[in-house]
């Protein structure tokens, strides 16, 4: 216990709160982009995950991800109900803060990841089916991948894959799961015929601003202490968001006018892209990582639109493709000059790291996509994924929740 550091504890408590707020921020980011008859439903898809996953994580999620009595693919059950997770630090993860604080901090990541996926099936998903899906997805996709990448003994961690704050664990899993789910649930009624206009872009801008702030907890907190790595992560995070928002503005301007919805989308994509790299790359590299993330996600959205796929709020294009680029970019720009616990990337003479990053990303994509596809198909066959035609036309606020947003 003498190793506990009050500075580290104070910062990690703060970072935990910052990451928690990202989920309601995401709710508003998404809520602004749907039609007004579905805004409460869309907000709730994120909010309810805070309730559901907090309980799942405490009961068995944490031990499946970080239980050290498991194998290299899944954690054991030694921390069931957070048994034995208390004030004493676990030096394998964070030697200067209570292990319980580490578990609480990681809980916030487990919460936001399923919430990210919800952008793919808003305005038509059956709420009951979503609850089951979120629980199963967290258990069969998030917890194993978190174990592979972050847990001591996880096989991707042993291989040397770098994922500072969850580029693969959070964003690649969420993005490609969103794609799989969208292919199963299919398009909203009227998609491609009637315009589906964002009903409150100010909500989306507000949500993006709060996400940007919360991301300091997400990335700088992943240093697990109040130290120089955390400072570097905060600066790279801010830089990538800024660079990506700027480039997105120019892309949008070139195609018409500089869309503000586009600018804030770009900022979020920059935050996604820097996530795996934040504690391993220099602030200058973060400019490149953010700037190049913009065309990747921008043209991924255009591609998705051309294919007439209703992956409604572009979770795949923003989080899947942004996260994939981030994982690759980590293999290019990582340097032990920033973080001696990391590795050098291709540009620092280590091409091997790029291959490891690509392998880890590819495997995560294949796993998340296929398990999600099967989960969605199974739920579709048993309880049905979609509300009725009438319920969809009336809007999910009234038909699923008996409420309306604006009276």
């Amino acid at each position: 216990m003498e190793n506990l550091n009050t500075g580290d504890i104070a910062w990690m408590l703060t970072a935990t709160a910052l990451v928690l707020v990202m989920t309601p921020a995401l709710a508003f980011f998404y809520g602004g982009m749907v039609r007004k008859k579905n805004v409460i439903s869309t907000l709730n898809l994120s909010i309810i995950v805070m309730c559901l996953l907090s309980v799942q994580w405490l009961l068995f999620g944490f031990t499946l991800a970080f239980g050290s009595d498991g194998n290299s693919f899944i954690g054991g059950l030694m921390y069931l109900g957070l048994d034995g997770v208390g004030a004493a630090p676990n030096a394998e993860y964070a030697a200067t803060i209570p292990f319980l604080l580490f578990a609480a901090y990681q809980m916030m990541f487990a919460i936001i990841t399923p919430a990210l996926i919800t952008g793919s099936f808003v305005e038509r998903v059956r709420f009951g089916a979503f609850l089951i899906f979120a629980l199963l997805w967290a258990t069969f996709v998030y917890d194993p991948v978190a174990h592979w990448v972050w847990a001591v003994g996880g096989f991707l961690r042993n291989m040397g894959a770098l994922d500072f704050a969850g580029g693969a664990v959070v964003h690649i899993t969420a993005g490609f799961s969103a794609l799989a789910f969208a292919l199963v649930i299919r398009a909203r009624r009227g998609f491609g015929k009637a315009p589906m206009e964002p009903h409150n872009i100010p909500y989306t801008i507000l949500g993006a601003g709060l996400l940007w702030m919360g991301w300091f907890g997400f990335n700088a907190g992943s240093a697990l202490g109040a130290n120089a790595i955390a400072v570097n992560a905060l600066v790279t995070t801010n830089t990538a968001a800024a660079a990506c928002g700027l480039v997105w503005m120019f892309l949008s301007w070139r195609d018409g006018k500089p869309s503000v919805l586009g600018i804030v989308t770009g900022a979020v994509v920059g935050l996604v892209a820097i996530t795996p790299a934040a504690g391993y790359v220099t602030p200058l590299a973060a400019i490149f990582i953010g700037a190049l993330a913009a065309p990747i996600s921008y043209y991924a959205i255009r591609f998705r639109q051309q294919r007439k796929l209703d992956e409604s709020l572009d979770v795949w294009a923003c989080h899947g493709m942004g996260g994939l680029w981030g994982a690759i970019a980590t293999g290019l720009f990582a340097t032990t000059a920033v973080n001696s616990a990391g590795a050098n990337g291709l540009f620092y003479g280590n091409p091997q790291q790029l291959l490891i990053q690509a392998f880890a990303a590819g495997l995560t994509i294949a796993f998340a996509f296929s398990v999600t596809y099967l989960l969605a198909k199974g739920l579709q066959a048993t309880m049905g994924l979609r509300v009725s035609q009438n319920a969809e036309e009336v809007g999910l606020d009234l038909s699923e929740h008996g409420e309306r947003a604006y009276s």
Binding site: S252, G256, P258, I301, R302
Partner: protein, 142 residues
């Protein structure tokens, strides 16, 4: 008889139209927010990546009840104030009105349309100065 004129106009032209109508003595009106489109179809808005079309555009609908002899001058005034020359400037419909009842006083017909300083009141004063057009009664001729 009286007429109701229904004017669909650009939101940004409303203040100009209102000012112009006030200047000729049209003091009563009501306004509703409407959505729709005419022959121009719709407009293009910026999305996250690329653009999209919307076809139900916001406009204001102005409702005014007038005596027959004031309709033409009012229409001219509105057109002058509301026109930009681009598609989407709007449209005016004219309907017959059977009767008008002012709830406070239960006045009906012409009397219910009269206000101090209204278009006919202004004309009468102008007429007293020798510029009248011959509609010089205080009534609005319902």
């Amino acid at each position: 008889m009286a007429k109701k004129i229904e004017v669909i106009l650009r939101e940004e032209k409303f203040q100009d139209v209102k000012d112009a109508l006030r200047k000729i003595g049209i003091v009563g009106m009501n306004v509703t927010e409407v959505r729709g489109h005419g022959r121009q179809g719709g407009i293009t808005l910026e999305g996250r990546a690329g653009t999209y079309q919307i076809d139900m555009l916001p406009r204001l609908q102005l409702n005014i009840i007038l005596s027959d002899h004031n309709v033409e001058r009012t229409i001219e005034t509105i057109c002058d104030a509301a026109q930009t020359g681009h598609p989407g400037d709007g449209i005016i419909f004219v309907f017959p009105v059977d009767d008008v009842i002012r709830i406070r006083t239960r006045e009906r017909g012409a009397r219910a349309l009269q206000y101090k300083g209204d278009i006919d009141d202004m004309r009468e004063h102008a007429g007293a100065n020798g510029n009248g057009h011959g509609h010089g009664s205080a009534g609005q001729g319902v």
